[in-house]
């Protein structure tokens, strides 16, 4: 089927985020990137958790799974392992992915599962009305840190680099073209891609102005994302908020490529059938 609809990923449900919420930018960029990927909507699955950001699958025209807080990654991994022909994208919040569900991210990264994770990072728990998130800053006042946060924020990017991530990027919903480009590259990547999407929450923690002032594009500075040690430094840079692709390597097989060597490409979603009686008998023989 050719893409007849000029905006094939446009949904008919209005997003009910607060006016001005950064997530609108992420949604637009994702739709744009998907269209440019040439994929059909029904070949794409968008998986999310619980949070403002995680409402996204309801607002895009693809298959969707709006699951549990913190668990989009394992659902996405399950889908991909059952049918790797699908393009599987997880979209969720910083609470979902850097808090309760971060271990899944770490392990998907080290396995190099071929899924794309877009974290709408607003440094706050939006949907639960503004509590401290793992990326909230020291001193940040929230409902759970009324005296200012005393917890050092998590640095998800160097953490995932250390864990073996093969595509690690940051982008900003205030720079929609950049965001679409980063997502397109993530889609093209061989394996797990982490896209940290700065997506300000205008209601509980509006950092638009701050980010606009401080962000710069790595590619504008001639940065090349091919050296792990340089990537580590760039991620920890103190001179502003770098966005762009920090690290990328295409020489590592995805987990699904390796899996195919074992299951012989007989993927579970296409393979719901009984056993031939010869094989069945041989299995019984083993137990004898």
């Amino acid at each position: 089927m050719p893409l007849l609809n000029p905006k094939p990923f446009e949904s008919d449900t209005r997003a009910d985020w607060c006016p001005g919420c950064g997530d609108f930018g992420v949604l637009a960029a994702l739709k744009d990137a998907l269209q440019k990927s040439g994929r059909q909507p029904h070949e794409v699955v968008v998986v999310s958790g619980i949070g403002c950001s995680s409402n996204l699958p309801g607002y895009i025209r693809t298959y969707g799974f709006h699951g549990l807080h913190g668990r989009p990654v394992p659902v996405a991994v399950g889908i991909k392992n059952a049918n790797p022909k699908l393009l599987v994208i997880a979209t969720a919040g910083d609470g979902d992915e850097y808090g309760i569900g971060f271990n899944h991210v770490v392990h998907a990264a080290r396995r190099n599962d071929d899924i794309k994770l877009i974290v709408m990072n607003n440094e706050i728990y939006g949907l639960t009305t503004g509590q401290l998130s793992p990326t909230s800053k020291l001193g940040q006042k929230t409902k759970t840190s009324p005296d200012g946060s005393i917890i050092y924020p998590l640095k998800p990017l160097p953490t995932i680099l250390g864990a073996g991530g093969t595509f690690i990027a940051r982008t900003f919903s205030g720079d929609p073209k950049h965001m679409s480009w980063v997502i397109q590259e993530a889609i093209k990547h061989r394996g797990f891609a982490l896209v940290d999407a700065i997506s300000p929450c205008v209601t509980w923690h509006n950092i638009y102005d701050e980010v606009k002032k401080l962000f710069y594009r790595l590619e504008d500075r001639g940065y090349k994302p091919d050296d792990e040690n340089e990537a580590y430094k760039a991620m920890n840079a103190q001179d502003g908020i770098p966005i762009g692709i920090f690290y990328r390597r295409e020489d590592k097989q995805s987990f699904q490529e390796r899996l195919a060597e074992i299951n012989g490409g007989r993927w579970a979603a296409d393979n719901v059938k009984s056993l031939g009686s010869e094989i069945a008998q041989s299995l019984v023989q083993e137990m004898l």
Binding site: M1, D16, Q40, P41, H42, E43, V45, V47, I50, N55, P57, G58, R61, T62, Y63, G64, F65, H66, G67, L68, R71, V73, P74, V75, A76, V77, G78, I79, K80, N81, A82, N83, K85, L86, N103, H104, V106, H107, L259, I262, N263, G264, R266, W267, A268, A269, D270, N271, V272, K273, S274, L275, S277, I279, A280, L283, V284, Q285, M287, L288
Partner: protein, 595 residues
Amino acid sequence: MSEKDSDAEITLRLGAAAGDGIQSAGEMIMKVLSRSGMHVTTYNGNQSLIRGGHVWFHVHASTKKIYSLGYGIDFLIPLTQLSYDQHFEKLNQGGAVIYDPVAVKIHDLDPKVMQISVPLADIALKYDKRPIMKNTVALGSLCAAIGVDINVLSKAIQDQFGRKEPAVAENNIKAAMDGYEMVKKQTRPLKNIQYNYSVRRPAMTADYALALGAVAAGCRFYAAYPMSPASPIVHWMASHAKKLGITVFLGEDEISVMNATIGASYAGARAMCATSGGGFALMQEAIGEAAMTETPVVVVDVMRAGPSTGLPTKTSQGDLNMMLGISQDDFPRVILAPRNPEESFYTAPRAFNLAERYQVPVIILLDFAIGDGGYSTVDNLNFAFEIDRGKLLSTPPPAYTNGYWFKRFAITDDNISPRSIPGTPDMMFVAKTDEHDEWGHDLSDVLAGLKEYLPIRRRMHEKRMKKLEEIKKEMKLPEIYGPSGADISIITWGSSSNAVREALHELHKKGVSVNSFEFSDIYPMQEDEVRKILSTAGIMVDVEVNYSAQFAKLLKREAGVEINNFFLKYDGEPIYPEEVEKHILATRKEVHAIA
């Protein structure tokens, strides 16, 4: 031998320390018997440590079909003093203890038990620097004592060590032969069984049988995080992944395992995962997710003795309450508790069909006693079962699509909605754990609490819950053994049925008027039918392996059936038929005293 004496039947037990190879020795003698036409049932008495301590392997074998661990011990092979001390009291008269006097001092033994002394270590040292083959020598000795063809053992040894260098098997065979000859010189066979070497019977644990049944039913996605006594399932799946094309996902925890299983099923696979109680506790939130998104899943809990970490290598039926209360608020689930490995094999395809037909989570409850700890003969497996994927469509009925979106959660007469899987054109939908309408649109945000949408919320909640009414009709009623109208009726479920069934046999020989009701389909319960059936029962005695009589409480809650007499075991050990027998005899006495 005791009252239970029968030449067609045999019980034997090997005991040693962990790491002494007692499990593989036990499996070999089980194979020997299985390949000699015998039915077997075994139990692995192991401990939560890797070397040392005390472990044992029990085998019950018979020329006829059996289920339980039998009565007492006919042949005890204690490789350590502790093994003798722990088990000698259970020896049946007419039985024997085969031992190495260097390792074991016999004491307090019933004079009607024969002592067969064999220099196990000395013989073993002939073939290796360390006496690791002493259990092989013992197996050879045992073959002489029970009168089975030593060549069957040789073959089993060959099979066992076949992948190692040839000398290993050769030396073991020689060692076994020496043991055999040594005993043959001392005594004629103590058992006069007609072995039938032309019949070979496969034996499996319920873990293996279930894995086999699942794959035979089309399951090619299996996810796991190791946990005793469920680990044999993942071991089987992993070691057959290449041959059968199974995708085995080793998650970072049970939460990822359950969510990945749901993801795989959502994507169209028949997907399963298994764990034990502690891991299941972590899966609960996601099981609610499966129910809410109406994604079929099969989840296996191989129960062990708790609470908490408890006794990881010991058995229990203590997780039923957990299954009745999985995660928050009401949603439908099915709970099945196959009684033995054979039934476990057939339960797998049933579970998948139920899961897909009703788009619900199906829980299979096994336990250590049959799951990991116990092999049992499983023959005549029939692999020709129907794969019913329910209302899984590949093209949308016109009323269910607007050209791209699919009315995935449509209200229908039977409360089951047609389903699609990603990749199918014109049938897109979003599976939501928030409450949603027929199209999968959120009812939790802008529509929440609006008066027009309250009936839709109610209807969606009812749609899910009312599936239970349909499922009920497919639930099997208890299987009844023994005469109808008996004075005493044993109520039991799952693996406890095995000891009960064999005790019944003995009780009938003693003239006790007793029958049994074995439940394998646990929930939802056909409460009216169950009440009707149990109204024919005599004095009811509940037999289960937990402290609080969880199944009896469910019976009371669902069917209003009240039981006041219990045999509850909760020390981690499986039920032996003699325990049931004793309890029923005592109950009969009481009843007579009252009457």
